[in-house]
Amino acid sequence: MKCDKDVVNLMHGYLDDDLTKEDETKLRNHLEDCEACQKHFHELKRSITLLKSVEQVKAPENFTKQVMQNLPTEKKHKKYVRWFKMHPVVTAAAIFFVLMFSGLFTAWEQDSQLTVSKQEDIIIKGDTVIVPEGVTVEGDLVVKNGNLKIEGTVEGDVTLINGKLLKKEESMNGDVLLASAGDINGEFKQVNQIFDWILYHLNNFFKSIFSLGE
């Protein structure tokens, strides 16, 4: 083999890991015999080593910061969208609360009419609901948006929403007497504030869950 282009090509093939076994042996055999080619090959390998010895340079300090500052600004709404995407639980909770409270408030607004849960034997005078003397109401009694006067007996829980419990004597002559209200054989609950009202609803909700469980 002559020391021509072919040998040099083989050298470069070798450096690129691109030689067949055969070519590699061919190159090796030639290099053993030819000093000039040996030198050439050595110089090639040495220049690569020298090249690799070049110091690594590092990017200047603040490089990243500068790049970030020079990026086109992202749209504002994208920022919010990203935030919501990154906090799905918070987002879901926020939506839930907004819907729940708006629902409750509308319900509260709509509920301004006087309602009584039971009608039998009960007298309604204006905004006052009277359980007359001698009458016994079986079961729970709920009065919304009205006052309640109990002269008889209620066999169960009484709930007053947005109203007052009037004493027997009070309404008759205006004096505040310590006369007891009629008999309530159960719990008495009075709900005035909106939050009490919410609590009352939640309470009912949980009670219904538990009673379902029973």
Binding site: N9, I48, K52, R82
Partner: protein, 187 residues
């Protein structure tokens, strides 16, 4: 690491600018170094490297996730450096006539530096000598030699980065090595 970058790129594509910071942080040294070796000048290298990252961000949607991000980024950086080299070339034309002289060109303005390469090496730090010799390679060889030996890409990856056929990469790396050999044999 690749997985982390892949994830960050996905976030950037969705419009998350903050995720890009980690990407820049991860590649800043590599890209800066690449630009520095291509341009031989730290100031210009910083300019171009920044520009490369900004271009990559702006065009992130044209990045195909099936390919390597580094390949894509290097391609942007390489193209920008080559553009820069082309643009500044007119300033350096040595055979341009010097104004106000009669037929004298820039060659006549150069000091004769007929020093032997050995002397040159002695007068200069080896490191900066090598850097100079890299800078003196024609850009099309320089980029390949650097990608191969300083950034250790495979020939196939280089062909992807520069968007030239593998055969051309082989021819150029061959010539580039020969050119370097001639310059560094005296060291």
């Amino acid at each position: 690491m690749d997985l982390m970058i892949r994830e960050k790129i996905k976030q950037v594509k969705k419009g998350d600018q903050a995720a890009y910071e980690d990407v820049v942080m991860y590649y800043q040294d590599k890209i800066f170094q690449h630009c520095y070796r291509m341009l031989g000048n730290a100031h210009e290298a910083e300019d171009i490297a920044q520009e490369a990252f900004i271009r990559a961000y702006v065009n992130i949607h044209s990045y195909d996730e099936k390919r390597k991000f580094s390949t894509w980024l290097y391609r942007i950086a390489t193209n920008l450096t080559i553009d820069r080299i082309r643009k500044r070339k007119p300033d350096y034309y040595l055979d341009a006539e010097v104004k106000g002289t009669d037929g004298l060109d820039m060659y006549s303005q150069l000091a004769t530096n007929e020093r032997l390469p050995e002397e040159e090496v002695q007068g200069m730090e080896l490191q900066s000598y090598i850097q100079d010799e890299i800078s003196n390679l024609p850009p099309k060889y320089r980029s390949i030699i650097m990608l191969r030996y300083l950034e250790e890409f495979s020939l196939q990856e280089i062909s992807d980065i520069l968007d030239i056929p593998l055969g051309t990469v082989k021819t150029r790396i061959h010539r580039g090595r020969e050119a370097l050999r001639k310059k560094l044999r005296h060291v």
